[in-house]
Amino acid sequence: MRVEFQRLRFLVVDDDAPVRRILRAMLEGFGSREVYEAADGAEGLQAFATLSPDIVITDWEMPGLDGLALTRRVRDPQTSPNPFAPVIMVTGYGERRRVLQARSAGISEYLVKPVSPRALYERILGVVARPRSFVRGPGYFGPEPREPSTVSSGSPLSGRTDS
């Protein structure tokens, strides 16, 4: 089983250019040909609307519209062009409460920086091969939450403290 990356369009949203370069290098190494970049949430939201990416990879902490707000806008069934689009959050925040907060915003997967190629590939494979059902309810539209014990599976979350 493999992912044909050349058939997928990615949008990478991060205010740090080096992080965008690294993620792009990984995605292109996997075989992607269409990797678009945005330097903040607002630019990312505009790119999401105009470029119709298949998968969004976003940072959390960004000036202006941050990654959480971007995710909520992507998930808004009233205004989003594709509220089912997988959103993979890649962030320096590794604390459990942050993971839960991101989950409440509607992210599909969560990775703590620094990200390895293997971890990124596995998350992308997950959203492509095993898409989760969505849940619609008061104040939430997004992937059906997994049990908290499995939310951070594979992420180096243990032992990290907040900032």
Binding site: E4, D16, P18, A25, F30, V128
Partner: protein
């Protein structure tokens, strides 16, 4: 997970599965090949890593100078953001020790608790020294001792 009744489950679209998933060969084989190509791409990029770290350390120093010159919630937030940003980059750029020190500084600068200027100065200087000296190993004796001491001092601030 049990979904409360007021929530409606919507089946996941399998658009991407149909578009890009090929069911042949083993998953591990495909993963290993893709990861090897990505690692090769990162190696090609790696000559730029030192310059990116130096630029990040300089942005941190600039945010630090601005906070020192005019302490305010906004300048403190900018300092936090610079530390948090470098924390996120440093590991991927091969500077885990700098990332560890930046994580400590980000913890200090986050929120509205006490922010001792001397301790902030020490963190910023330590990051700059680690980058300047090219201390890439997480086990660098001097660097890890410095990081541990900064963590001890930060813990005292609470």
């Amino acid at each position: 997970m049990t979904v409360p009744p007021r929530f409606e489950v919507v089946p996941a679209p399998d658009t991407l599965r149909r578009k890009a998933l090929v069911v042949e060969g083993t998953m591990e084989e495909a993963l290993s090949e893709a990861v090897a190509r990505a690692e090769a791409a990162l190696r090609e990029l790696s000559p730029e890593f030192d310059a990116w770290m130096e630029a990040g350390a300089e942005r941190l120093a600039a945010a630090h100078r601005a906070w020192r010159a005019a302490p305010s919630p906004a300048s403190r937030r900018a300092l936090f953001r610079a530390a948090h940003s470098l924390r996120g980059q440093a590991g991927g750029l091969g500077y885990p020790l700098a990332g560890r020190i930046c994580a400590g500084l980000a913890r200090l600068a986050f929120g509205e608790g006490p922010l001792p200027p001397g301790l902030v100065d020490a963190h910023v200087e330590a990051v700059r020294a680690v980058v300047r000296e090219g201390a890439r190993s997480a086990d660098d004796p001097l660097g890890s001792a410095l990081a541990a001491e900064l963590e001890r001092l930060a813990a005292e601030v609470g």
